[in-house]
């Protein structure tokens, strides 16, 4: 049996798992955007703090995902087994590219442009919203793009902690020594990543054109 035959025969479950996968990615991306974007903006002018925070995010990135899931099981409130733990871990992983690109993007806006905006009488808030953020958008979006790709990939491992998603097929296939089942999870996950990446790439390009 080929992997696509397996996929067709189990399309109900594949569809359900894909939705779960998208849900996990969506929730964790939303959380890391909510934390990462404001934090990135706040850190732009605080070089010292920025080094520490990005360093910490970097360290998180180096923890193997299965180990991070393991660490999170005994943590009260956010830990345990199931989707919530997975979302916490996935948000942590997505944080670094968002944070770093937000900082870099804003820091690289031409100081002359900011100066002239100030000279026109803009408040700092207006400078941020009307000048810095729009000019930094392509770089910030590039970070979000990387974060999404990472997130979709790591979400497959969330099945190890009972969170569902396409990783269920991968783990099941590994347990059954059945490559077809593994591919039925891995290939839709790869397609998800490609689709999300090209969608965000479109946004990025159109934001760069403006």
């Amino acid at each position: 049996m080929n992997w696509y035959e397996f996929l067709l025969r189990n399309r109900g479950e594949v569809f359900e798992r894909t939705l779960e996968h998208i849900g996990l990615v969506g929730a964790s991306m939303a959380i890391s955007l909510l934390i990462g974007l404001p934090l990135g903006v706040a850190l732009v002018s605080r070089a010292r703090l920025q080094r520490w925070v990005i360093g910490a995010a970097n360290v998180v990135q180096t923890i193997p995902s299965l180990a991070l899931f393991g660490f999170l099981i005994p943590v009260p409130w956010i830990g345990g087994v199931g989707a919530s733990t997975a979302i916490v871990a996935l948000s942590l992983y997505s944080l670094l590219p968002i944070l770093r690109n937000t900082c870099t993007g804003i820091a690289e806006v031409d100081p002359a442009v900011i100066e002239s905006a100030r000279g026109m009488g803009m408040t700092p808030w207006q400078v941020l919203w009307q000048v810095q953020l729009p000019l930094a958008a392509p770089v910030v979006l590039a970070g979000i793009r990387v974060a999404t790709a990472i997130c979709i990939g790591i979400t497959t491992i969330a099945a190890a902690i009972g969170a569902g998603g396409l990783g269920v097929f991968i783990f099941r296939g590994l347990a059954m020594v059945n490559n077809q089942v593994i591919l039925a999870g891995a290939i839709p996950a790869a397609f998800l990543a490609i689709a999300a990446d090209s969608g965000l790439g479109y946004f990025q390009r159109s934001s760069a054109r403006r």
Binding site: L66, F171, R172, L174, A175, I182
Partner: protein, 346 residues
């Protein structure tokens, strides 16, 4: 150097292509029983073809030299070659066989450990590349003899003994004393407080308990569905399905109350958990047995004596502790086995 040996070692040394960094659970030829310990498999770097070939050449050369020299060495003196599959328990058992033969005879023992799976060990044994290796009765029955799984341990042992003798000229020695099969595991304090000894003892509490199972247990024909039916247990909610390594953590942390593990997993001992007795004999027996070539036994009767002395000497608890000493405490298998043999007066 026979072509057979080439394939044997190549297959043993080959790393399967990784699709994702995943825990290394049961990436095994069909029927191989055990899961390996948790380790990250990293996807091979994507070099250009030419580059890869060039970097492989020294390895291939080294392999050839190794093959030629090991071939020469074997013809030189009286040697017994002990083999094992590629996971901790097998390595510990092979080391036990090796030390036992070294202690009870003048023979020299060569260790050829970490062979890549049941089929490879079996081929090596039958073709005389190795003289003995540890196997499990259930694995021999299903993976080698292609029989359906059976529940009765003595029946399985008898059948495997007969068939191996007739078909492969291999002697299945008496079992070592432990059974490496699925095990229902609970926290030690629960077991003590509620006086749990067997799986049936769980029945009154099951409705309030959450169960956690691994992916392999959910899928295997001798796994979840049949087990629920055999014991008529109903847990609170659907079982949590987790990675095997994380299951024990979840159990230790009260996230679940009962998990399906493997009866000789070292963590059962180290985290003070209790494996419940399978009182309805649902799980097929996977008793550890030494498989020895009959030709070797005829030529060296002292090997029979040395290995025979191990019958019923290794309990599940002892095997767990040795697995834990190697996996959890990173101790040298040879040293762990020496300590065990000393304690048992072997």
């Amino acid at each position: 150097m026979t072509p057979h040996r080439m394939t044997m070692i190549r297959r043993g040394a080959g790393v399967p292509p990784a699709i994702f960094p995943t825990p290394q659970t049961a990436k095994t030829p069909a029927g191989r029983r055990r899961h390996e310990n948790l380790a990250f498999r990293v996807a091979a770097p994507n070099h250009r073809e030419k580059c890869r070939l060039r970097s492989l050449l020294p390895c291939i050369f080294a392999l050839l030299v190794l093959l030629v020299t090991s071939g020469c060495g074997k013809r030189g003196g009286e040697r017994i070659i002990v083999g094992s599959k590629n996971f901790t328990e097998q390595i510990v058992l092979a080391e036990l066989f090796a030390q036992q033969i070294e202690a009870h005879s003048a023979l020299r023992v060569e260790r050829r450990l970490n062979l890549g799976g049941t089929i490879i060990c079996h081929d090596a044994l039958v073709s005389g590349k190795i003289d003995l290796y540890p196997e499990y009765t259930g694995t021999a029955l299903t993976a080698i003899l292609n029989d359906p799984p059976q529940k009765d341990p003595s029946e399985v042992l008898r059948r495997v003994q007969e068939e191996y003798r007739a078909r492969f000229n291999v002697e299945v020695m008496p079992p070592l004393g432990f059974n490496n099969t699925f095990a229902m595991v609970v926290r030690g304090d629960d077991a003590e407080k509620l006086h749990l000894r067997t799986i049936s003892d769980v029945a009154p509490y099951a409705a309030k308990w959450r169960a956690g199972f691994g992916y392999e247990f959910m899928e295997r024909p001798d796994g979840y569905r049949g087990w629920m039916a055999a014991y008529g247990l109903h847990f609170s909610g659907a079982p949590r399905i987790l990675d095997l390594g994380l299951l024990y953590r979840a159990l230790a942390d009260n996230q679940v109350d009962l998990v399906a593990g493997n009866s000789t997993d070292g963590v059962i001992a180290s985290l003070h958990m209790v494996a419940l007795e399978d009182d309805r004999h649902y799980f097929p027996p996977y008793e550890a047995v030494p498989l020895v070539r009959r030709a070797t036994l005829e030529k060296h009767p002292e090997v029979r004596e040395a290995i025979g002395a191990l019958a019923k000497k290794v309990s599940e608890d002892e095997m767990r502790l040795m697995n834990y000493a190697v996996d959890g405490e990173h101790r040298d298998p040879a040293e762990v086995v020496r300590a065990f043999r000393g304690a048992k007066g072997l």
